[in-house]
Symmetry: C2
Subunit: 123 residues, 2 copies
Amino acid sequence: MESTTRIFKALSEPIRLRIVNLLLRGERCVCDLMEVLTMPQSTISRHLAYMKNAGLVKGRRRGVWMYYRLAVGNSGLHEKLLTILASWLPQTVEAKSDLKRLASLLRHKDSSSCQTNYPEKEL
Amino acid sequence: MESTTRIFKALSEPIRLRIVNLLLRGERCVCDLMEVLTMPQSTISRHLAYMKNAGLVKGRRRGVWMYYRLAVGNSGLHEKLLTILASWLPQTVEAKSDLKRLASLLRHKDSSSCQTNYPEKEL
DNA sequence: TCTACTTATCCGCATATGCGGATAAAAGCA
DNA sequence: TGCTTTTATCCGCATATGCGGATAAGTAGA
């Protein structure tokens, strides 16, 4: 029950729900997240640390970049939560506008900056 | 999104999840909740006020007693949350023991004290 | 109205957490 | 090693929230 309330806490800030929304489309590095969400890097990293501690996301280092992705649900509740978030989040105005900004960012990004090896889901 | 994070916050304390669990079986007055959860009345009332403010529960006064019940989900997400909580909560040890204590309380309760008019779900 | 019972709110206190600038740490490259 | 880039953590500060005893408010009955 404690681990469940930690997940709920991790979902209790709008900015963190927006991060979840972005990670639903694949892993992202901190620099992309801060650009899309237009928040200072320390703020983004702090939220990611909080979500990681709650078991909501996982991080993978690749060179200087840290890529974060959603952790697969390790309990029935966690898994179902991700499912309903995946169906609900994209309807929200914040999510839609973030995804637009992300798509534009990926289009114009310098190819020498952070890239993911993983196939992206459609934006 | 703001209203959603308020619901998540309302679900972010173990004691509040235990209240949700009890309310899944029907409405309950504050005095029953404080007895089952063995917490002081001010603590129970404070949590109920928080949950009510988040739209998670509703209160109904009947004489001196206040009966609280789960609010029906007014958004798709809210509704789905209640559904998965209803399937997950009863599996937890805390929920099981609370339901036992509730059943025993209802058995031995003085019939002159608070009663509900609504049919109870099976304990 | 006075009293008893139930619940809501207030109070002081402690902790958790948010913010964002500043600084430290990690990694890669020359 | 020294420099650059990216990310993590630290810092001081402000706010939110938890706790439970004390008190206020609401209700019913004598």
